[in-house]
């Protein structure tokens, strides 16, 4: 997002081997986003772009990345200014959308887009009349206008134009406020003392060493070789640091390549890890994999979890109360589809966002827990942050609410809060027992031993109840016809 200081961030991102840096201007954004975001986020793209380009050039980083800019770009003139201020690529959204049929109804969030652009309703989608040619045609006009501007300025390519702020003239404006504007910083031409570093973009820059396999990845694949080859059980120990990002994802890929979505028998591949895991620990772990981490993990634990089992617990010798401390970061189980995850401690924000089938036990979550969840089960043995269950249309959450504060923290638009049925009690008890087995959680054990005094609340989405009733109906019909 274009704002003051974005250049510094860009420099960091470039050093971290990003391929492309995207500068988004303040007047873009989907019509479906909240007004606060549409109207109060960021600055004009010109400012962020100029700063980014300048900082990268001055630090000899410009050749490593492409800069893309967007935010209501609509004309060849916009592209020309983007290039002169330092951009290589240009994002167009609204205009091509309009070219293909969007009429700015601003009903993207209601599923009633009458021209079938932003809707899932098949009746309305049938009305969509856009073609790729419409967009191509529009972009040809943009290119044609740009070509004219380039010819006038004497440029043969966009590369030549990049960063040539000397070609930008400030128009004299009579408005007294406009006269207060000082464009000097925006229109400073950044030059690096070491000319070699201000070189054109090296296309090979996008195949960085990040793509090479880390030693832990290698160790895990090596350890699991017999499992991968013959489906036999294996066990591996690794030590992790926060530089180990997406730990286990490569293994998951190999399992999926060989065994498909079915995966392996439970507990075929067991990995015992220790240390602080980097982002996306256990991402996409497949069925048959059990990964136990003694230590803690960064954001995105179990992202896209696909049948594997994860357990994260504090080291046995730790003295702190696990359930009062955060053990995994934000956005854990993002988009998980199946599998289980047990966390002997609290998780950060947006826990299990967009989870569609995974089962998890955790000892507390931050804001926006279970957001947009569509399936699966989440047991929270501790406090939740605000806005719990926002947009949750499926799955069930069971929250331990001894203090009776949950009601004030739930976004109730789509869910009901209700007591547990005897079957629910069974389910939760079994899950907490499993949690204790995997993580030796003191909290879990305590809850089990004081079960009768505990107050759980069931968070039930309205849609999910309807789906359940429909399924139950279909089942009984099947059963009846089976008998008949």
């Amino acid at each position: 997002m274009s704002e003051t200081g974005v250049g510094t961030i860009a420099a960091g991102v470039a050093k971290a081997k990003a391929d492309t840096i995207q500068i988004a201007g303040h007047d873009g954004g989907t019509g479906a986003s909240p007004l606060s975001s549409i109207q109060h986020a960021g600055t004009p793209w010109e400012l962020g772009l100029a700063e980014t380009h300048q900082v990268l050039v001055l630090n000899g980083l410009r050749g490593r990345v492409r800069i893309q800019v967007d935010g209501q770009l609509k004309t060849g003139r916009d592209v020309a200014f983007g290039a002169l201020l330092g951009a290589d690529e240009f994002g167009f959204a609204t205009a091509p959308l309009v070219a293909s049929g969007c009429i700015m109804m601003r009903k993207c969030h209601l599923n009633t887009c009458p021209v079938g652009v932003a809707t899932q309703d098949p009746v309305l989608r049938a009305r969509f009349r856009g073609t790729p040619e419409h967009v191509i045609n529009f972009l040809f006009f943009v290119a044609e206008e740009l070509r004219g501007i380039m010819a006038r300025l004497g440029f043969r390519s966009l590369e030549e134009m990049r960063g040539r702020v000397d070609c930008v003239k400030v128009r004299e404006l009579s408005h007294p406020k406009a006269r207060l504007l000082d464009f000097a910083d925006v229109l400073t031409r950044a030059v690096n003392e070491e000319p070699a570093k201000d070189e054109p973009i090296d296309p090979s820059c996008c195949v960085p060493d990040a793509w090479q396999m880390s030693s832990t990845d290698e160790a895990v694949l090596e350890g699991a070789r017999i499992s991968l080859k013959h489906g036999e059980a294996s066990q591996t120990h690794v030590q992790l640091t926060n530089a180990d990002r997406a730990f286990g994802a490569r293994l998951a890929g190999e399992v999926a390549r060989k065994y498909g979505g079915e995966g392996l028998r439970d507990n075929t591949i067991v990995i015992e890890a220790a240390g602080t895991a980097g982002q996306s620990f256990g991402a996409f772990a497949t069925r048959g994999t059990l990964i136990v981490l003694e230590g803690d993990a960064n954001d995105y634990v179990g992202k896209g979890l696909s049948g594997g089992v994860l357990a994260v617990k504090p080291p046995a010798r730790s003295r702190f109360k696990a359930h009062e401390n955060v053990i995994v970061g934000n956005t854990c189980l993002y988009g998980a589809t199946s599998g289980k995850a047990f966390f002997a401690g609290r998780a950060g924000e947006r826990f299990a966002v967009r989870n569609s089938g995974a089962i998890s036990v955790v000892e507390g979550v931050g804001d926006h827990g279970c957001e947009y969840m569509t399936g699966g089960t989440v047991v929270v043995l501790g406090p939740t942050g605000r806005n719990f269950a926002a947009g949750m249309s499926g799955g069930i959450a069971y929250v331990l609410d001894d203090e009776r504060v949950l009601s004030g923290r739930v976004s109730k638009a789509m869910v009901d809060l209700e007591p547990l049925t005897p079957e629910d009690e069974e389910t939760v008890r079994a899950l907490v027992t499993e949690h204790v087995e995997h993580t030796r959680s003191a909290r879990g054990a305590h809850v089990l031993s004081t079960w009768a005094k505990r107050h759980f609340v069931k968070v039930m989405p309205h849609e999910w109840r309807r789906v359940m009733q429909l399924r139950a109906g279909q089942e009984s019909v099947k059963r009846a016809s089976g008998h008949g």
Binding site: I103, M104, M105, R106, K107, T112, P114, D121
Partner: protein
Amino acid sequence: MGDPKGFLKVSRVEEDDRSVEERLHDWREVTEHAPEEAVRAQASRCMECGIPFCHQGCPLGNLIPEWNDLVYRGKHAEATRRLHATNNFPEVTGRVCPAPCEASCVLNIREEPVTIKTVERTIADLAFADGSALTPHPASRRSGRRVAVVGSGPAGLAAAQQLARAGHDVTLFERDDRIGGLLRYGIPDFKMEKGIIDRRMEQMRAEGVVFHAGVDVGEAIGGDRLRREFDAMVLAMGARAPRDLPIPGRELPGVHFAMEFLVQQNRRVAGDAVNAKTAILATGKRVVVIGGGDTGSDCVGTSLRQGAASVTQLELMPKPSLVRVPANPWPEWPLVLRTSSSQEEGCERDWAVSTRAFRGEGGRLVGIEAARVVFEGGKMQSVPGSDVSLPTELVLLAMGFVGPERRGLVEQLGTELDARGNVRTDPTGATSVPGVFAAGDTSRGQSLVVWAIADGRRVAAGVDAWLRQVPMARAANG
């Protein structure tokens, strides 16, 4: 938008017209007004678009999505207020407007638009019935400025009402014996019954408008005198000079301008006696109407009601296509074939026909000679050997109007004209003569009622702004 999915559940239902047999026996309005419940359902189809293209379609900028929603929710009083916020005479547009709003309705891209015009008329009619539309809104403070409005068509009426509400003393002069312009004497009762004009006049009187009918400005009072006696002046005289067809036989009795014919019938319906010697009647005659537009269509309906033996309507331009052509995309006004209620009532229509001569026998009209034409590269060419001759006893010329009458007032004031012969105005409606403004067909050329009302409102704002600038001297002199 009470119901965001209304447009998916309810389909467009237009109001029924009374059966042809029934309606040809009277002069009452053709349309049978739908019950309120049905109109509510129709209003629910409005999607309250983020960018309401109907706003662009309606020259008045009517707040269409707002009042659609209010009607859907049954809030009639509020709907009446919102409707009158932009439109002085919705009871008129709700009847005679061709509804460019509906053409630009977003639903008209792929299916059928909201019945905006019907909703508009329903709000207006309900508000007429309970009197709320007719509550006078006199200005709380009078400015002491005097404004003369010449012409009482929709442009003059709207300008007068707006100016009176702004606190100015408005005097409206009309050449005809009754107020209303083409609303009164052009448009037939079967499209719009005339009682509604009289009720609006009561409201305007209460707001301070003084009506002087039967005063031909330029004849009875000179333009100069008006300029002296009033602080400002609005010309809303319409565009009454008809386009003629100067071909052999034009002088034959039986060849008439449409307006001569229509005015007479409107007078008869109003209960006036029409001199038998000058009366133009279609009864028992084979009628040919030359001109395919609104005026022509009104001649068709009027002739049929008078009992014409047959009616044929000829149009010079080629027959338009039945559906939009790609070069004429939404939200443009679709140039497609339209059939008016009058044309439905039994009339032959023919296109690309150019009339060459009127044939007379013994000093009486007996027929016309015509030829088919084609348009090539924008030029009209007659098709050799395509001559047609039609027997007829009455020809009505409805070929449009060429602009305001220049003789008289326009000449006296010396206002500049534009290339098409209309009075030239700036965006505020001011003419080249200080303090003289123009609106409606006078400045725009032959157009629509909705444009006339929009112009009237705009010119009133222009006059008001102008009066605030100039010193009071003139009023004192007068």
